[in-house]
């Protein structure tokens, strides 16, 4: 079996989880727990194995040959439009496939334990598998239309999974919010496809590669911006980010999957894939980089004083995604991909760790009701801490290398503003995540219920997510928290290790830039950004590490001892009114909600009441009523009096005679 034969099997990568999903949708309930979970995990693990095989096969091929097309059937074709189902196996797609299947498998494994006892166990795993399958279709597609299928599929699955506990009103609403916000982006994707087809006559990546360079600047920029709108939706960049924090209403493995391996990184993938539209036209790239940088900073500030363990991580994800777009925007695609990979590792570990914590403390997600858990959950704490340090950028953990490269490239690409914003974001990153880690695993224990206070009744309809500002209630836990089984601890540990050593993939030294070299064929024609000197690069590193260290130190000082008083958060106190603003994420969500629920809703109501019912239908009714009224008027003419009738006859006669006279006079 030579390399090409292996690559020809790449279509199985998405099909395996898809088959798993189909199987589970039909028989999930009959398979039951835990068989359904194992089927799903197995399907994805199989896909991972295949991805590895494909990787090996690709490595065996020479640079330019590292792109293999697997043709499928024609999908939509009419008139001049043709688009098919085909898979493109190249370094970029296989990198993502490995990430999705690898990290995804671990999250699946974790979920086998986490979802224990769920009423819709089978359906959960069916959707979970479908989620992975959709993401794989998205990254392996050989044309925009098929990628869009995956793109929408991911959106659908996020809707289903976020709303998995649909009996919780907030979960159900959050699912809708995720889908609708994503749809805004999807509209951008559609317009981009229309533009591409209109300009190039095809949606195939192959055609794009050849043709994009010849496009007029404004067309390419338009395509790039439309595509970026799509990415903003899917990757939760500011303006379209508001679905992501709410997505925490889903089960924690879902959050992990959304944030680490699938969905949110799709936007980065798309920008990388469609780089020919971005490269040559500075305007589009600048927009991407600037939006990315701002997202990194603003989301970082929003994460500072959140009290929900998952919400902090959610804003963290948004912020980190900002870095990725920052990188992609300045043209450092390989750096972006590198960031995606390491982020997947440590963010997955963080989420899974958070999930374990939530489980262990009896379904509370409030940071203020935790503390000191490292004693009870040592393994989880290890994984979590490793990931925390990696994310904050402590050298030589993976996050350090990735973040460093992004910042360096931004600076050396001649974007000092973007660099500056990115650096500021580094500070917030260090602050919010250290705060979370300390509040969860260190300091005083706050999860015990004071004696004499009865345990609140468990109400499954109430969402466990706690909003900023809600005063903490008594924790519902009896007894000590304890580590769950290996099914749940193992993934955290594996990912934690990944978070520590992930940097090895792409150390910024010649020869050691494995990932960058590997990805070169995918980013053919992209100008490489190089540091002017080793000293300059080192200086950037020193600056960013210093900023991160400052943040760490500050957080350590504030939260070393946990929260002496549960309802008083020292950082919040210090920030004053700004803290409130941060806590509400700059009130953007509230503003949008107020707009949609207020003026927009009123306008829609007016459209319904005033225009539809009161305008159009009333006009129609008025015509009908007019006819009826005219009929009634006719009735009145028929008075019943004989002489009136005769008058009518005579009037007609006179009229006709008058006409005769006129006519005779004229003729």
């Amino acid at each position: 079996m030579n390399a090409r034969d292996v690559l020809d099997l790449a279509w199985l990568i998405p099909v395996l989880p898809l088959a798993g999903a189909a199987l589970l949708f039909c028989f999930g309930r009959r398979l039951g727990e835990p068989a359904a979970g194992w089927v799903a995990t197995g399907a994805l693990a199989g896909a991972f194995a295949l991805s590895v095989a494909c990787l090996v096969a690709l490595v065996g091929l020479e640079g330019p040959e590292r792109s293999h097309l697997v043709r499928g059937h024609d999908w939509i074709g009419i008139g001049g439009f043709r688009s098919g189902v085909g898979f493109l196996v190249d370094p970029l797609s296989i990198t993502w496939a490995l990430l999705v299947t690898g990290v995804g498998s671990l999250i699946h494994l974790y979920a086998v334990g986490y979802m224990h006892g769920d009423a819709r166990y089978g359906r959960f795993f069916a959707t979970f598998n479908l989620f992975a399958a959709a993401m794989l279709v998205l990254v392996l597609a050989d044309n925009f239309l098929l990628a869009f299928v995956g793109w929408e599929g991911v959106g659908l699955c996020s809707y289903l999974l976020i709303g998995h506990w649909s009996e919780r009103p907030r979960a159900a609403t959050a699912g809708v919010k995720a889908f609708v916000t994503n749809r805004v982006g999807d509209a951008g994707f559609l317009v981009a496809m229309f533009l591409i087809f209109g300009a190039l006559g095809s949606l195939d990546y192959a055609v794009m590669r050849e043709g994009a360079a010849q496009l007029p600047a404004e067309t390419a920029t338009a395509v790039a911006l439309a595509l970026f709108l799509a990415c903003m939706g899917k990757s939760a960049q500011i303006l379209l980010h508001l679905w992501l924090p709410d997505a925490m209403e889903g089960p924690t493995p879902v959050s992990a999957l959304i944030h680490a391996a699938t969905m949110v990184t799709a936007g980065v993938y798309l920008v990388c894939r469609a780089h020919p539209f971005f490269d040559r036209h500075a305007a589009a790239g600048d927009v991407v980089a600037l939006v990315g940088a701002l997202t990194a900073l603003l989301a970082g500030t929003a994460a500072l004083v959140q009290v929900d363990v998952k919400r902090v991580l959610a804003y963290s994800t948004i912020s980190q995604l900002g870095y990725m777009f920052l990188a992609a925007g300045v043209g450092a695609y390989a750096a972006a991909v590198f960031f995606v990979v390491v982020h997947a590792l440590y963010k997955a570990a963080l989420f899974l760790g958070a999930g374990t914590v939530i489980h262990a403390t009896g379904d509370t997600q409030d940071l203020r009701l935790m503390g000191g858990l490292r004693r009870y959950l040592p393994l989880t704490a290890a994984g979590f801490v490793a990931s925390w340090l990696a994310l904050v950028g402590v050298p030589p953990l993976s996050g350090f290398w990735a973040k460093d490269e992004v910042l360096a490239k931004a600076l050396f690409a001649g974007e000092p503003l973007v660099f500056g914003i990115g650096l500021a974001a580094v500070f917030t990153t260090g602050l919010y995540l250290t705060r979370e880690a300390l509040l969860v695993f260190f300091g005083n224990e706050r999860f015990r219920r004071p004696a004499g206070v009865p345990a609140p009744a468990h109400d499954p309809t109430v969402s466990p997510t706690v909003d900023y500002g809600t005063p903490p209630g008594p924790p519902p836990l009896d007894g000590d928290p304890h580590e769950p089984g290996p099914v749940m601890t193992l993934p955290v540990l594996v990912l934690g290790v990944g978070a520590v050593v992930g940097g090895l993939l792409n150390l910024p030294f010649r020869r050691l830039e494995v990932l960058t070299h590997w990805l070169e064929p995918a980013f053919e024609g992209v100008e490489e950004i190089t540091a002017p000197s080793f000293a300059a690069a080192a200086a950037v590193s020193v600056v960013s590490v210093t900023v991160a260290a400052l943040a760490l130190a500050l957080a350590w000082r504030l939260y070393r001892r946990g929260l002496p008083e549960v309802s008083v958060d020292p950082l919040d106190v210090r920030l004053g009114p700004l803290g409130r603003c941060f806590g509400h994420a700059w009130y953007y969500d509230e503003a949008v909600t107020a707009f949609v629920g207020g003026p927009a809703r009123r306008a829609a109501e007016r459209l319904d009441r005033a225009v539809d019912a009161g305008g159009i239908d009333r006009a129609v009714g008025a015509v009908a009523a007019g006819v009826v009224r005219a009929g009634a008027a006719m009735r009145a003419l028929q008075s019943g009096f004989l002489r009136r009738y005769a008058l009518g006859v005579l009037a007609g006669t006179v009229a006709l005679l008058g006409y005769a006279i006129l006519r005779a006079g004229a003729g």
């Binding site: 006819v627 009826v628 005219a630 009929g631 009634a632 008027a633 006719m634 009735r635 003419l637 028929q638 019943g640 004989l642 009136r644 009738y645 005769a646 009518g648 006859v649 009037a651 007609g652 006669t653 006709l656 005679l657 006409y659 005769a660 006279i661 006519r663 005779a664 006079g665 003729g667």
Partner: protein, 504 residues
């Protein structure tokens, strides 16, 4: 001294047959007193007479088809396809009315004593003459012969005040209109020197009138008289009252046969006699058609009595037929003939259902029909088909008829009239559906089921399990069958009408 004009007997045979029937019936009635069988015997005799007349009509049709049209009785009577076709319609309508009358008169409790049928026959004679009348004076006489018995028939149910009132109004207005018509004839005679329609036409072809005022005035006055008979607005005012007052079978007869005869006369006057003045009378007919369509349909919309509603709808149908006349082309004439034939059947069937449902002191308030669909599904079904046909729903003869007149308008490029016509048809649909709505869902509007407050609740129709007698059954069956059959496969009757106008 001129000889008595030769009488061509086949030309007057149908009339003669009916005349003989009338004489025999009157004699029978006077000779045999108060025997139970006499009533039925007179009915049988009447039907036989109508059948014989019908046979003569068929013979005439054959003669006309093989030898072409001709004139008889010194040119006073034309025997052509047109006349024969209308005669056929009139005879069929008369026969149907007779069939409907038997059980109606019995259930309503009217002792007919023979004169009812005699009046009907006399009126039929007038109509037959009118169908072929080729002289304005003959038209006038026929008009009166058909009208005078109808006045009496309308007022026949003397116990009902509505009947008497209807008859009286019909009579006064009818006489008034006849007088107007006669004056029109006089003016036309004065202008052209002839009362014979071919004579008038020949004169107009020969000479160009220096002063056309007299002729035009005469034309318009004749239009009034005939417009009155066809129930064109604004000469329609008698229609709702007379139709509502008259016994149901008589109303059916008036709506079908009278209309056919009157339209025949109108067409003949306009096309045979005054074709040269087509450009003068077309606008007048146009105006009448528009008014008739609008007023007829709108007023029907506001009715609460079904018989009255049907009366207004009959006015509206006159409007549709006027579209065919206004088109002033061969297609229009054929379409008008076709319309008359199909409408005659529909309306007879409709009043047949009403006759079958009628009880002493007949009342046909809309509310009375509530629930009829459940109580008498078959009768309701018949009524449904016939009303839908009148509404012009496809797959019924009513649609084909409307299509015909609309086509004529399109061919004549009367676009405005065409649009008025199609819209009027929509309004027409509205009031027929109102009846169906009450019949099948029990009320007209959502919410309130029942009658308007204040007025006593009228008795529901069809509550008593009284069967439908054979005569009515035959009429209804034929009406429905032909209505649907012609709607689905209009070829046969259409060709007949087509040929009838060709043989003009």
């Amino acid at each position: 001294m001129r000889a008595v004009p030769p009488i061509h007997w086949p030309a007057v045979a149908p009339v003669a047959a009916l005349g003989v029937t009338v004489v025999v019936a009157v004699m029978l009635r006077s000779l045999v007193r108060r025997s139970a069988w006499v009533d039925d015997a007179v009915i049988a005799l009447t039907l036989v007479g109508l059948a014989v007349a019908g046979g003569f009509v068929v013979v005439q049709w054959r003669i006309v088809r093989s030898d072409g049209a001709y004139q008889a009785v010194a040119g006073a009577v034309a025997v052509d396809g047109f006349a024969v076709f209308v005669a056929g319609v009139v005879l069929a309508a008369a026969a149907a009315s007779v069939l409907l009358s038997r059980s109606y008169l019995r259930t309503v409790g009217l002792a007919h004593g023979g004169e009812y049928l005699v009046l009907l026959l006399c009126s039929t004679i007038g109509m037959l003459v009118m169908a072929g009348a080729n002289d304005l004076l003959v038209v006038f006489v026929a008009l009166e012969v058909l009208s005078i018995p109808l006045y009496l028939l309308t007022a026949f149910d003397r116990r009902r005040r509505a009947s008497l009132e209807g008859g009286m109004k019909y009579f006064v207005l009818g006489s008034f209109a006849s007088a107007v018509f006669l004056y029109g004839v006089a003016l036309t005679y004065g202008a052209t020197g002839s009362t014979s329609l071919p004579g008038v036409a020949a004169f107009l072809a020969r000479t160009t009138l220096a002063e056309s005022g007299t002729l035009l005035a005469g034309l318009m006055l004749m239009l009034v008289g005939l417009g009155f008979k066809v129930a064109a607005v604004p000469f329609h005012t008698w229609v709702p009252d007379a139709y509502q007052g008259a016994p149901a079978p008589v109303t059916g007869f008036m709506a079908s046969a009278t209309k056919a005869a009157a339209f025949a006369a109108l067409a003949r006057v306009l096309f045979t006699g005054l074709d040269a003045y087509r450009s003068d009378w077309r606008p007048a007919v146009w105006a009448l058609a528009v008014l008739t369509l609008v007023v007829g349909n709108l007023a029907a919309l506001a009715q609460r009595d079904v018989k009255r509603l049907l009366a207004y709808s009959s006015v509206a149908h006159a409007g549709f037929i006027l579209i065919g006349i206004e088109a002033a082309n061969q297609r229009g004439r054929a379409a008008a003939l076709f319309y008359l034939a199909t409408y005659a059947l529909m309306v007879l069937g409709t009043f047949g259902v009403l006759a079958a449902l009628a009880r002493r002191g007949e009342r046909f308030d809309l509310e009375c029909f509530a629930g009829l669909g459940r109580r008498r599904p078959v009768l309701a079904g018949v009524l449904t088909v016939l009303l839908l046909a009148q509404a012009g729903v496809p797959a019924t003869s009513g649609f084909v008829a409307k299509l015909g007149v609309f086509q004529a308008a399109a061919q004549a490029r009367s676009w405005a009239l065409l649009v008025v016509g199609v819209l009027a048809a929509v309004v027409g649909v509205a009031y027929y559906l109102r009846v169906l709505l009450v019949m099948y869902t029990g009320a007209e509007a959502d919410g309130g089921e029942g009658t308007a407050e204040g007025s006593p609740v009228p008795p529901a129709l069809g509550a008593a399990p009284v069967g439908v007698d054979a005569g009515t059954g035959i009429v209804l069956a034929v009406a429905v069958a032909v209505t649907v059959w012609v709607g689905v496969a209009p070829g046969g009757l259409l060709d007949l009408a087509e040929r009838a106008r060709l043989l003009f």
